[in-house]
Every structure is written in C-alpha cells, then in structure tokens.
C-alpha cells in the first residue's frame, strides 16, 4: 500500500500544495489532476524520492519511502525528459537501463511499444513520439510494482496511446499500481482522481 499523509510541497517561496492525502492499493490507478503549475510533476518527483516534501509523509507498507531500503527498486519514474542518449542506438539505450538495474540486456520490450524495427537506429534520428515510446519501453523491460508516469501520452499517436493503455492494463492485472498525470482522457477502468491545487 502506498499512502500519502498531509503531504505539502514547497518550490522556492511558494507553497505549491498542502494537506494532500491519498492511498493506492494493489492494482489501483490514480490520475493526478490540476491546473498547470498545481504541482502534479512535483508530486510525482516526491513519490519517486527525487524531491523532499515540505511536510507530511509517504509510506510504502508503513515504511517511510525516503528511509525504506529497496523502495526505489520497486518503482519506475518516467518524466518529461526521456533519458535517451542520442549517440546510442535504440537497443543500446534500453540495454543500459536494464544493466543499470541488474537485468540482462534484452531488446524484446521494444516491441511492446512498436519500436522493435528501430532497434539498431541511433536514437538521434527518432521523432518525438518514437523517443517517448523508447522511454516507455523501460516499463515493459523491467518489472516494477509502482509506475509514476508524468504526461506519458506526450507526442504519442493513437497506436502509441493504445499500446500504453494495454501496458497499463497488463500492469494492473498483475497487481501493479500507478500514478499518472495526463491531459488526455485515458481509458483507465476504476481509476481514482487525485485533485491538487485550486482547480477542483
């Protein structure tokens, strides 16, 4: 169980949000919603332990995520930046992420998001949508029970969005949970909505 209690976030002098509570059980999906600047990305960065909250705490199975051993191994964070090295091929980029997390390099996951045929192409030739597909293929390549997806539909075409929705459904069916921000209506059955900021 992922649980946030009276979470507050400060960026510079500005209190971005405060008093945020939510829970996320196995198989659950939550869509974080709010106007631009409400702190959606900051919330995901807090949950990824990349940003410290101003106050409040987040726990995974009752252990604080900033102190818990192995919490980071359980999550995937896909942010606005794709973490792609243009000098490497598509397969090499994926292989590095896999090796970094102690997995053997295996390009099979590229097919989940339909970029298997591009495996040997240098990543600098990819379009924005193909870059996003490569970034998302980490989700399929490395199993992790918690996905934190910041605007995962950016630059994706209809087929890419369908592949994402299918991957999310498979992830939830196997007990995984996810939080995501999006401005597109995605087909996520029983997804909760977490409102932050004044845009309720």
């Amino acid at each position: 169980m992922l649980r946030a209690q009276t979470l507050a976030c400060r960026r510079g002098d500005r209190l971005v949000f405060a008093g945020l509570d939510f829970e996320l059980g196995a198989g659950a999906a939550a869509v974080v919603r709010g106007p631009n600047g409400a702190g959606k990305s900051s919330l995901l960065r807090i949950l990824a332990t990349l940003l410290r909250p101003e106050s409040g705490r987040v726990t995974w199975d009752d252990a604080d995520i900033f102190a818990a051993e192995g919490y980071r191994a359980r999550l995937h964070y896909v942010g606005h930046l794709a973490a792609i090295k243009p000098a490497f091929t598509v397969a090499e980029n994926l292989a590095f992420w896999q090796r970094l997390r102690g997995q053997p390099a295996d390009p099979a996951a590229l097919d989940t998001f339909g970029i298997g045929p591009l495996a040997d192409i240098p990543a600098q030739w990819l379009s924005a949508g193909q870059r996003q597909r490569l970034s998302l293929s980490r989700l399929a390549a490395i199993p992790a029970p918690l996905w934190l997806l910041d605007e995962p539909t950016t630059s994706l075409d209809d087929a890419g969005i369908a592949a994402l929705v299918a991957a999310i459904a498979a992830h939830r069916a196997s007990g995984g949970r996810l939080l995501l921000t999006t401005h597109l209506p995605l087909d996520l059955p029983d997804a909760e909505t977490i409102w932050i900021g004044a845009g309720r």
Binding site: G79, A82, R99, L100
Partner: protein, 222 residues
C-alpha cells in the same frame, strides 16, 4: 551494486569513444597551450628547460578543466541523472564511475602527451619519470576535485566560468607538489616526498569528493 558501477563506467566510456570530441579537444588544447610558450618567452633552451615543469602542469590543469563542465550537465539535461539517482549504484558511486571514465578519456591522454611536450620544452631527462609519476597521481585528483565544481554548477547555463573560479584555487596544492616532484629530480634531490603528498591528496580527494559532488547533484535534482 558493482554491476551498476560497471554499467555507468562502460556507458560513459562508450559515449566518449562515440562522440570522441572531448578527448581530442583536451589534447589539442594541451599541445597548443604548451607550444605557445616558446613563442612567448623566446626559444632560449635554458629558459624553457627551467620553466618546463610549471608550464606542463599549468597547461594540463587548464586542459583538464576544459572538459569538466559537461561532466554531469548532459545527464541532467536529458533526464539520465534522474534515472541514475534512482536506480544507479548510489549517487556517490555513480560520481566515482563518471569521474573514472572522465579521467580515462582526458587525464590519461594528457599523461601520455606530457613527455612528448617535455622534449619540446627541452626538459632535463631526469625529470621525465617524475613528470609521468606526478601526472599519474595528480590528474585523477584534478578530475575528482573538478567533479565537485561540475556538480555545483550543473544547473547553470553559463556554468563553465564559475566552475573555473570555484575549482582553480583548489587545484593549487596539486600544482605545487606536481611541479616540485619534477624540479626535485632535475636538481638531484629526492622525489619521494612530493610524490607521496600527491598520493595523499589523491586518497583524500577520493574519500571526500564523491560525497560532496553527490550532495550537490541531489540539490540540483530537487
């Protein structure tokens, strides 16, 4: 854990080989700077021999500085630093892996080029081995100390100049003992003391710099 260290090291080495430019830039800068001195101070062999150790060390120090500002910047800009912080072998070990890759692709070529340039400056032959030894012990310290500056300035758009201002004063001890090891050999004195101090500086830098650089990177990620 060590798998992650090797993965980062292998990735940075492969990136350096594929992009290639940084190593050549450093070497060409080193050679050009050193070869300016005979034009500036005149081609008198005794003068050049006297200043050779200092010229080589100052030029090597500036050349090492030249490539430092991109050490973490590219990874911050493309989001790789997020992934390294989350899933790497710990940010401190990630820093060590990146610094080691940086040294292998810039410090080591400097070390190999230095004896050739020493001939150009008419350096006394007794100073050659101390030159190589002092550079082998000193240039890794330059990379390690520079990593702190690179991490502190990683989010700044024109961080290169600030990086120089931060790091150059910290390079002074390495410069002093690097030059004195060579001078000691040229003047027939024992080179052990300055080389041992360089080794101590390297061990101290290895113990402290990864933590300082990692802390600065954590701030940059927030």
């Amino acid at each position: 854990m060590s798998g992650g260290f090797l993965a980062v090291l292998a990735r940075d080495l492969r990136l350096a080989v594929r992009q290639g430019s940084a190593t050549w830039l450093v070497i060409v800068f080193f050679v050009l700077t050193v070869s300016l001195f005979p034009f500036g101070v005149g081609p008198e062999p005794n003068t050049l021999a006297r200043i050779a150790a200092g010229v080589l060390w100052v030029a090597a120090l500036l050349a090492a500085l030249l490539s430092l500002d991109r050490l973490f910047q590219a990874d911050l800009e493309d989001g790789s630093l997020d992934q390294l912080a989350l899933h790497g072998p710990g940010l401190e070990l990630t820093v060590v892996a990146k610094v080691l890759a940086h040294w292998l692709t810039t410090g080591l070529p400097l070390l190999l080029a230095a004896p050739v340039l020493a001939v150009l400056l008419n350096m006394d032959a007794a100073g050659f081995w101390p030159l190589v030894a002092s550079m082998a012990l000193g240039t890794p310290s330059l990379s390690l100390i520079g990593a702190i500056g690179a991490a502190l300035t990683v989010g700044l758009r024109r961080g290169g100049v600030l990086l120089s201002l931060l790091v150059l004063p910290l390079y002074v001890p390495v410069l002093i003992f690097g030059v004195s090891a060579i001078d000691a050999a040229v003047f027939n004195m024992a080179t052990d003391a300055p080389l041992l101090i360089l080794a101590a500086l390297l061990l101290g830098a290895l113990a402290l710099c990864p933590w300082a650089a990692a802390a600065a990177l954590r701030l940059a990620l927030e």
